[in-house]
């Protein structure tokens, strides 16, 4: 019976609560335009969080994703600067993103290295290449149609938001409805068992890192297209951190085997909402890290509490809480 309520409900509730509070504080927060802006600004982190979710599900971590944003964005800009059309540039960026991921996955699997170190190394490599290629300067995008990725919209929904939505749907299908999805959870749940069960572990691991790399490429394309310039420090800010936090807030375990795409997406929306709310409501920039931290913490406390206690029992538990504690937390 507890199982029936989806795991993501708690974090969804938190998102709603935070949005309601912000709407109450600021009338501008609750406008449709602001909702668009919120989602648009959250799109890159959401993409990274989606990719990261795959990696985390197998018990890995992908630190390279932030600088992969810069690398792929730069690749797109450079490709266009030599005259290629926008779609070719986009493909090139995605190919490079997947390549970085494939390298990560191969090193992790075939050399049995800790993912933290492997992706730390590729993080450095991916950060250096754009700097080396361009001498730290930016590269303007030449093909105006490239703007469609970051600035276009369909029925008023910004293209990056659509891309995230499509990716989330596809990824959810992959995880829930294909053998690969089962394999990903199994590898993260118990790699030894998975090996004995004949699951192609190598393929699974390389795949998740490749997906993460692809997501980073989409992040790079969005950033570059929104600014219409490729620059080497893109994605070097809080993106990586926030994207991992988004996944974890959404219930993805750093130890593998637990979590879902909708959860990670909701985590990203929560972070986007809070970040947007800060600026819209006008919280002083010094206070922002503190407020973000406290809200996320509060959210996860609510969520954790809900997970442990089925919604129905919540009230009665609150009364006689003391007695229940030790054993069921096992």
């Amino acid at each position: 019976m507890r199982r029936r309520t989806p795991e993501e409900l708690g974090i969804a509730a938190v998102v709603v609560i935070v949005a309601l509070v912000l709407s109450a504080i600021s009338p501008t927060f609750r406008t449709l335009e602001n909702a668009q802006i919120l989602l648009l600004n959250g799109a890159v982190i959401a993409f990274l969080a989606l990719g990261q979710t795959f990696v985390l599900l197998t018990g890995g971590i992908d630190l390279s994703t932030g600088s992969n944003v810069a690398l792929t964005g730069m690749i797109a800009a450079l490709t266009m600067s030599v005259g290629a059309p926008w779609w070719l540039a986009a493909l090139a960026a995605i190919a490079v993103g997947i390549l970085v991921g494939t390298v990560n996955g191969s090193l992790v699997h075939f050399l049995k290295l800790p993912p933290f170190i492997v992706t730390f190394a590729t993080f450095g490599v991916a950060a250096s290449i754009p700097l080396i290629l361009t001498g730290a300067s930016s590269v303007s995008v030449k093909d105006p149609f490239f703007a469609i990725i970051g600035r276009g919209s369909i029925f008023g929904i910004p293209m990056p938001v659509l891309l995230v939505a499509v990716a989330a749907i596809v990824f959810t299908i992959v995880l829930r409805l294909t053998p690969t999805g089962v394999h990903i959870y199994a590898v993260g749940g118990n790699q030894e068992t998975s090996r004995l069960a004949g699951i192609p572990i190598g393929r699974t691991i390389v795949l998740v890192y490749a997906i993460s790399g692809m997501c980073a490429a989409f992040g790079g394309l969005i950033v570059t297209s929104r600014l219409m310039v490729g620059y080497p420090s893109a994605g070097s800010g809080n993106e990586l951190f926030y994207s991992i936090a988004a996944a974890v807030v959404g219930g993805v375990s750093l130890f593998g085997g637990i979590g879902s795409i909708p959860g990670a997406l909701l985590g990203a929306v929560l972070i986007a909402t809070v970040s947007n709310g800060m600026n819209v409501v006008g919280v002083q920039s010094y206070w922002q890290p503190l407020v973000i931290g406290v809200i996320i913490l509060g959210g996860i406390i609510i969520d954790t509490y809900r997970r442990r206690v089925p919604l129905g029992e919540l009230l009665s538990r609150l009364v006689k809480r003391r007695q229940a504690a030790p054993a069921d937390q096992a």
């Binding site: 600021s26 501008t28 927060f29 406008t31 335009e33 602001n34 802006i37 919120l38 648009l40 600004n41 890159v44 700097l131 001498g135 730290a136 300067s137 930016s138 600035r151 950033v223 929104r226 600014l227 219409m228 310039v229 620059y231 080497p232 420090s233 893109a234 994605g235 070097s236 800010g237 970040s275 947007n276 800060m278 600026n279 819209v280 409501v281 006008g282 920039s285 010094y286 922002q288």
Partner: protein
């Protein structure tokens, strides 16, 4: 003794004129240059300025990049000081921590020429350190210039709702904001509505600006205190004609539409000027304590040339 308390030796050079290390009299005097990073094209240009001018003036210039880490810059400088340079040209990562770097150079008897980022005078005094010269843009004037431009464009008593896209954690940007804010205050109808943090990055500035406008739809002027912030703010505005953008110039971005004015620094030239100041000092001239360079103003229809950046 065995124990060094680290409280420092009073070299006495702090008050007794500029020391002249032996290296200054070699064939190619060795000049140590410490810059914060190379991910901002600003410093790329400055580095080139240093290197070209160094070659022209017969110096051996070594440029070290701190990757925005003050402690790393301190140790980089310490490492270069071991090679006994003739002078240190310092663009600190942050104003206050840089005082320790100056102190280290003082202790080694190496004169310090600072550029672009001022070293906090209080911190210098607290540590008993001194610099030969500060050379850089007049940040306060830059902000003020933009405010004047706003008032000239929109009217001295225009109803202004101003939003800032800035970097509140850094001194130069705060000084620019201050210059703008204090100058624009002459217009009684001007109000500063909100300030957001653009992190000196175009993407963060883009996001922050969209949110700034979303939260404050009545804003009609944006002051962006750095080049990347200006660029990001412009991208955030695409199509929105109600808002005018003023700020420090985005690199090579033509001024058109609602991008109405910007001021630019010339980091390459700053590097060159520091080298020339050092050369002048070696030639016997007395360097001025402060060289404040006016910023170059750009208005609608103009485009900053390469190397002219905010």
């Amino acid at each position: 003794g065995a124990v060094d308390t680290g409280t420092g030796t009073d070299t006495g050079t702090a008050d007794g004129g500029i020391p002249r290390p032996a290296a200054c009299d070699s064939d190619t005097p060795y000049i140590a240059v410490a810059l914060p990073n190379l991910t901002n094209p600003y410093y790329v240009a400055m580095k080139e300025g240093f290197e070209t001018a160094g070659a022209d003036n017969g110096f051996e210039v070594e440029v070290q990049i701190a990757n925005d880490d003050d402690a790393a810059q301190l140790s980089q400088v310490q490492a270069m000081l071991q090679k006994k340079p003739c002078a240190l040209a310092l663009n600190g990562v942050k104003s206050e921590p840089a005082a320790a770097i100056v102190k280290a150079a003082n202790d080694a008897g190496v004169p310090v020429f600072t550029v672009n980022v001022t070293v906090d005078p209080d911190a210098l005094e607290a540590q008993g350190a001194s610099i030969v010269q500060y050379l850089g843009a007049d940040n306060y004037a830059g902000g003020a210039q933009m405010a004047e431009q706003v008032l000239a464009d929109l009217g001295a008593d225009a109803d202004l709702k101003i939003g800032f896209v800035t970097e509140p954690d850094e001194v130069p940007t705060r000084v620019r904001d201050q210059g703008f804010e204090e100058t624009v205050a002459s217009d009684a109808n001007a109000t500063v509505v909100a300030k957001v943090d653009g992190n000196v990055k175009p993407d963060d500035s883009l996001a922050a600006t969209t949110e700034l406008l979303s939260g404050n739809p009545d804003i009609n002027v944006i002051f962006a205190s750095t080049g990347p912030a200006t660029y990001g703010a412009l991208q955030a505005l695409a199509g929105n004609t109600n808002v005018s953008v003023y700020g420090f110039c985005a690199s090579e971005e033509p001024l058109q539409g609602n991008y109405k004015g910007c001021v630019a620094q010339e980091p390459g030239r700053y590097g060159q000027l520091v080298i020339e100041e050092i050369a002048g000092w070696l030639g016997g001239a007395t360097p001025e304590a402060e060289v404040l360079l006016p910023l170059k103003l750009f208005v609608t229809g103009e485009t900053p040339a390469p190397g002219e950046v905010g």
